[in-house]
């Protein structure tokens, strides 16, 4: 396998190169703290600190290849510790911190699972987070040490130089996917180098002379960690980080930091653009100037053209240029990015016939009744390829809906110590299997996403652009018609009395026939009326009668660490009859929770 053209072959090599640049003392990362103060960490200091932490970890007995669980909510400490491990050849395993307002038991289960699955020898945390991690220690057999970040580097152990090969494991990214049990995606240095080159250079067309990233994305998640820490380190881009919680509390801070630091690159899931549109008042825009922003990426969840248009409309007085929107597609198994639209092409969409889509064909029609609009997520990067295949693994033509598959040097070698799960998702195309040889890079990642391509021959270049319809495993097939849960969920989410993103659609077997179930979070006082309204809406919009509509108390749908409802788990809970059903009764009280909190 060859090395990428424009970036260093490993992350430590990239960081050391960066620290050698003449301006390494004046360029770097800015960490905005919850109180608004900022900590500047120059690239030279970042390298120095990471090397010191690497030496400290080795002094504590960790060796190259050992796994280190990291549960550190503070962005600056997280980044320095993560890079410290990587510099020392130790494999970091980022884990999300305990979510607020939730009981802690399921969190302990997740941390225990990740610690055991990764075989982490040590967990690194903070003094404040320690109480949430300590109970896990006796349950995770490999974990022998808990260290807090202030202990790390308290003693000077100098620096060490660990030889890192591009094929070495850089870190384990446990997926927050909609499966019930997180799996550790193995990310090598070569994966990181290739993907960083792909999205930073070919995708964002970065320019180190003026580009600057601004991000509030969580760092335990691939989009925040690779997109804004690792990619920028490979390509010499300064970044301003703020805590995720600061953004959710006050979405305006995202815009303010872009304005204040003249940010040029940012990125967010669809919901965040919607949150800004909802919360930021036009009269408060004042002298906000977002004309500096030239890349506003969107990904990690289904992209709605409507959401992005509304954001652009709202921020027009602040000189936001809608061409900056950069819809994209990716997943942890491909390191991060799989496709990007060309820079400055904005949101382009395809309006297709709903009825034809139910038969797995994307037929273009004018917008209106019976049509649905999908956002163009762009094309694959150089040396990478995407294709759409049917159930037998045969490649499909443009506008035929099938599973999206991809190959190239960014694709992970598989899940850590999960050979069966790896073989399911990382394999040759079936009809090519007889001639496939592993060393040819002929392994494809089966993404589990359904979509179609359109070949674009603009400007003399041929590129296959991808449109995502939904998850293969979640597809609902009722009497031969295919429905994507995200379409059904979106329609219900837009109804009054339902909070956006708190709807799950799935199918169940009823007397041998697949049938639709909708679950939505709502107020118990409105449950009955809401049930009827949701059912009517589904009938009106999809000509489909739900088998059942279940209204559950808000906050009770199972979620991933990034806050997305888990479809399969919700379905399982429905089947097990463990969903908390909201009943039309007032004043039911939650005494057990109260008792737990006063302890």
């Amino acid at each position: 396998m060859k090395d990428p053209k424009y970036v260093a072959p490993t992350l430590p090599a990239a960081i050391r190169q960066l620290a050698q640049l003449p301006d390494a003392g004046s360029r770097g990362f800015v960490f905005v703290r919850p109180d608004g103060t900022e900590r500047f960490c120059a690239f030279s200091e970042l390298c120095d600190q990471a090397e010191r932490r690497a030496a400290d970890l080795h002094a504590r007995g960790l060796k190259k290849g050992d796994r280190l669980a990291i549960v550190v909510p503070d962005p600056d400490e997280f980044v320095l510790s993560f890079l410290g491990a990587v510099m020392g050849g130790i494999v970091p395993v980022p884990i999300y911190p305990q979510l607020s307002f939730k009981n802690v038991e399921s969190y302990h289960d997740t941390v225990t699972h990740i610690a055991n699955a990764s075989g982490a020898a040590m967990v690194l945390t903070t003094t404040a987070t320690k109480p949430y991690i300590e109970p896990v220690l006796p349950r995770a057999s490999s974990l022998s040490q808990l260290v807090t970040v202030d202990e790390l580097g308290a003693e000077d152990h100098g620096k060490i130089d660990v030889a890192i090969d591009p094929e070495d494991l850089a870190f384990l990214q446990f997926t927050s996917g909609s499966t019930s049990r997180p799996k550790g995606v193995q990310v090598t240095h070569r994966n990181l180098a290739w993907n960083s080159e792909s999205f930073m250079i070919h995708g964002l067309e970065k320019d180190s002379s003026f580009d600057k990233g601004v991000s509030w994305l969580p760092l335990f998640h691939d989009m925040g960690l690779i997109g804004f820490v690792i990619g920028p380190l490979f390509t010499n881009i300064p970044v301003v980080f703020m805590p995720t919680a600061s953004f959710v509390r006050n979405p305006r801070i995202w815009l303010d930091k872009i304005h204040q630091h003249r940010g040029t690159i940012t990125y967010a899931p669809n919901f965040a653009y919607a949150l800004v549109t909802k919360r930021v008042k036009e009269k408060d825009l004042g002298d906000l100037d977002l004309s500096c922003l030239r890349r506003a990426g969107c990904g990690a969840e289904p992209i709605q053209a409507k959401t992005l248009h509304e954001f652009a409309e709202k921020l027009r007085p602040a000189k936001f240029d809608a061409r900056a929107f950069l819809p994209s597609y990716g997943m942890a198994e491909a390191t991060l990015a799989i496709t990007f639209v060309p820079a400055f092409s904005g949101v382009r969409s395809d309006t297709v016939d709903k009825a034809a889509l139910e038969k797995a064909v994307a037929t273009p029609v004018p917008a209106g009744e019976g049509a649905t609009t999908l956002v163009n997520c762009g094309h694959a990067f150089p040396e990478h390829e995407i294709a759409v295949v049917d159930e037998t693994g045969k490649r499909l033509a443009d506008r035929q809906v099938g599973q999206i598959v991809t190959r190239g040097p960014s694709i992970s070698r598989g899940y850590y110590q999960e050979p069966e799960l790896t073989a399911e998702s990382f394999k040759p195309l079936r009809h090519e299997a007889h001639e496939a040889r592993e060393s040819d890079g002929e392994t494809w990642l089966y993404t589990g996403d359904l979509g179609y391509t359109i070949t674009n021959e603009a400007d003399g270049a041929r590129s296959r652009e991808v449109f995502i319809c939904g998850r293969l495993k979640d597809m609902i097939i009722v009497r031969g018609r295919n429905f994507y849960p995200s379409d059904l969920e979106w329609v219900v989410s837009e109804m009054p009395g339902v909070r956006r993103g708190n709807v799950v659609a799935f199918s169940v077997d009823v007397d041998g026939e697949e049938q639709l179930v909708i679950t939505a979070e709502g107020m118990s006082t409105e449950a009955e009326a809401l049930k009827t309204a949701v059912a009517q809406r589904i009938v009106a919009d999809f000509a489909l009668t739900p088998h059942e509509v279940v209204i559950v108390p808000q906050g009770t749908l199972p979620r991933t660490s990034s806050g997305k409802p888990q479809r399969r788990k919700t379905r399982q809970m429905y089947l097990d009859d463990t969903l908390a059903r909201a009943r039309t009764v007032q004043g039911a009280s939650g005494e057990p929770e109260d008792a737990a909190s006063s302890a």
């Binding site: 607020s100 307002f101 919680a245 979070e521 107020m523 906050g555 979620r559 806050g563 929770e593 909190s597």
Partner: protein, 91 residues
């Protein structure tokens, strides 16, 4: 009564502020909220709660540190967190 609240805001008033803020953010009424009500019972997810807390912070000109959020499970816990952040010198 705690030193911190003196001369600033009574507990009942604080509950009303919470109720109003929650209504604004979640776009629905919360007629039966009491201190003993659990957050999950309110039907507000963690994203929504953070939005409400952000709103309270702006209105009351306080800051609730992230680390004290994890232990909040009831309205009472939340009001305690708010109260402990009220400036004792405020008129």
């Amino acid at each position: 009564m705690m030193q911190a609240v003196r001369g600033f805001m009574e507990r009942a008033e604080l509950l009303q502020v919470f109720q109003r803020t929650a209504t604004e953010v979640a776009e629905k009424d919360f007629p039966n909220v009491a201190e003993t009500t659990s957050i999950s019972e309110l039907g507000i997810d963690s994203l929504g709660m953070l939005e409400i807390i952000g709103s309270l912070e702006r209105e009351l000109k306080i800051q609730i540190p992230d680390e004290s959020l994890a232990g909040i499970l009831t309205v009472k816990d939340l009001l305690n967190a708010v109260e402990s952040r009220q400036p004792s010198s405020a008129a």
